[in-house]
Symmetry: C3
Subunit: 139 residues, 3 copies
């Protein structure tokens, strides 16, 4: 079976790190899938998905490393051409990636105890985000 | 059902960014899959897959960030041992990653409007690339 | 069909790069799946999965690039709060990512000849790691 749901996030501006673990876990539970796959995908080119230990220290550390990777203060060709002011967000999103595939085992995501699913919204202005959660497998 | 196709690319040298969205979307349409998963995988250790807004500014910005991550001018142990001259390409490919999983919803990839599927070829010489597109799900 | 197995690794400390290609390939072969998907996922927030040409030069080059991305010597908020001393490992793992989806074609992973599946253990102390290998598809 294949089930697809969407989660909606209201991002704040500049590398907002949202923990979506609970909401995704609830969708897995409701699906009844025991062995299968959960794909988390964020449509849009200024956001990304990964896992972290979701505590304020790691969140701060990750933001700093990402700022170094594609600093906001630099000149971006995207901004020169389009005036969007979010060229750095596009680069960050492409480097981290928009998709994550997590196996489901015995009805649960195989995440570590201190490993949370996070959506990183890099955009320069607050915006709504929809996140696609697709669950497939055997119930 | 599971269908597998290959796309062939003729890369130019040094971080060639190829937009494969249309070709992948056509394969999804031809497969008839309505709800499912599309996995794009690039065999080889000097190329990668991600999504970007495919416009010249973002392409230039991404190339610059990747150049900073693993600059071509540095000394690479791979080059010292093998003389390939593409040590930087190996590092870049490993960091971005060779695989992307995109859900299919109502017969279409759930990409954002300004989000394109791209294959990044980091190698130092022009070469042919095959990209594996695997589509599974329910029609 | 869906099969799930685990591989156990005994990591050494600091960016241990383990080639798991053979063990994953054996699981694919044993599963009998001809066309399908193999998802490799590492539970935990200080390890990651990607592909490289597994030879000492590339391993050294990749380690150096990752050290630059999140240097061990910097101050990490995670360490200040928790005293774990592995803040850099959390950042590295989040950037590379814990999951990889590799298509299976005609009974084999579609990896390139010089492309190996590797688990990167970034943690500061030696530890056991389990890696989840999920294989689905048609036999």
């Amino acid at each position: 079976m294949i089930a697809r749901q969407e989660i909606e996030l209201r991002g704040t501006s500049e590398t907002d790190v949202a923990d979506v673990t609970k909401r995704v876990a609830q969708l897995v539970e409701k699906s009844g899938v025991q062995e299968g796959l959960c794909v988390v995908f964020v449509p849009g080119s200024t956001a990304a998905v990964t896992t972290i230990e979701y505590e304020p220290g790691v969140v701060e550390d990750l933001k700093r490393a990402i700022e170094k990777l594609a600093p906001r203060g630099e000149r971006y060709a995207h901004d020169s051409a389009w005036g969007d002011g979010n060229g750095y967000a596009h680069v960050r999103a492409a480097m981290v990636g928009p998709s994550l595939a997590v196996p489901i085992a015995e009805g649960h995501l195989v995440l570590g105890t201190w490993q949370q699913l996070v959506v990183l919204d890099f955009d320069s202005r607050p915006r709504r985000r929809r996140v696609v959660v697709q669950i497939s497998g055997e119930s």
